[in-house]
């Protein structure tokens, strides 16, 4: 599984593992959307600490989740991007749509 999901009340945390490109994004998207549709959280946290590669398909993934969450009245938070991912986030201007945070604990 490329995504492990943790649910708490009103929150879904999706921890993505491995590489994010156009090929892998399809399954990652399905995993996340399945939880979001079932739980309809107020906040979707996507954790990138275990992502070893990401291209602009990752931005498309975040934007897509942002749109879904907007419809159900919730927000998206981008957690623990690696330095390489931060570089792409910066180009995208996604920080205007989703808060970028770092948690202390290392996600597993």
């Amino acid at each position: 599984m490329p995504v492990s999901i943790r649910n708490s009340q009103d929150e879904v945390t999706a921890i993505i593992e491995g590489e994010i490109d156009h090929h892998t994004a399809t399954e990652i998207r399905k995993c996340i959307d399945e939880s979001v549709e079932r739980i309809r959280p107020k906040l979707l946290k996507i954790d990138f600490s275990q992502v070893s590669f990401m291209d602009s398909s990752g931005i498309g993934l975040i934007m897509g989740r942002y749109n879904t969450m907007k419809i159900i009245g919730g927000k998206v938070e981008v957690q623990n991007p690696t330095p390489a991912i931060e570089k792409i986030l910066k180009i995208s201007g996604i920080q205007k749509l989703a808060k970028i945070t770092k948690t202390q604990e290392v996600s597993k």
């Binding site: 590489e19 490109d21 156009h22 090929h23 994004a25 998207r29 590669f53 990401m54 291209d55 602009s56 398909s57 931005i59 498309g60 993934l61 934007m63 897509g64 330095p83 390489a84 570089k87 792409i88 180009i91 995208s92």
Partner: protein, 147 residues
């Protein structure tokens, strides 16, 4: 233009599973320049964008061939040419604009923006109905410089 030191050519089919292969193969060739982890990651990302575009845009629903040429030049420069024989781009200037995409949904329209910011130079030659060639150039400072 400086002297070509080593060159490889690859042909891959426009299947999305080959996105990963293409960037890893180019990175394996680029390793000869002893790049930093960051430089290698930049190259992989830019190649991934260009190859994905061939799969998503150029050939869309068919399976076509993607031609990748990687050259290493004397002044620590790598030049990667990614060519398709797909639909071509009508307005290249518009295509380069950040957030511009002809596909809605999950495409961000940032492919060319990422290539431009991760490489030193990006050139696009395209003919509608004939195909597109994207050339990515980057000078590698590398790990040796820090020794």
């Amino acid at each position: 233009m400086s002297v070509l030191i080593n060159e490889t050519r690859m042909t891959v089919e426009s299947r999305s599973i080959n996105e990963g292969f293409s960037r890893v193969a180019v990175a394996a060739f680029a390793a000869q320049l002893d790049p930093t982890v960051e430089e290698l990651s930049d190259i992989k990302t830019a190649v991934s964008e260009a190859v994905t575009n061939c799969i998503v845009h150029a050939y869309e629903k068919q399976v076509g061939k993607i031609y990748i040429t990687v050259g290493i030049y004397e002044n620590q420069t790598i030049r990667i040419k990614i060519r398709d024989r797909g639909c071509g781009i009508e307005n290249v200037r518009q295509a380069r604009e950040p957030l511009y995409t002809t596909k809605g949904g999950e495409r961000s329209g940032l492919g060319f923006a990422v290539m431009e910011s991760f490489m030193d130079k990006v050139t696009i030659r395209s003919n509608v109905g004939k195909g597109t060639t994207v050339t990515l150039t980057k000078q590698i400072c590398g790990r040796c410089k820090n020794d």
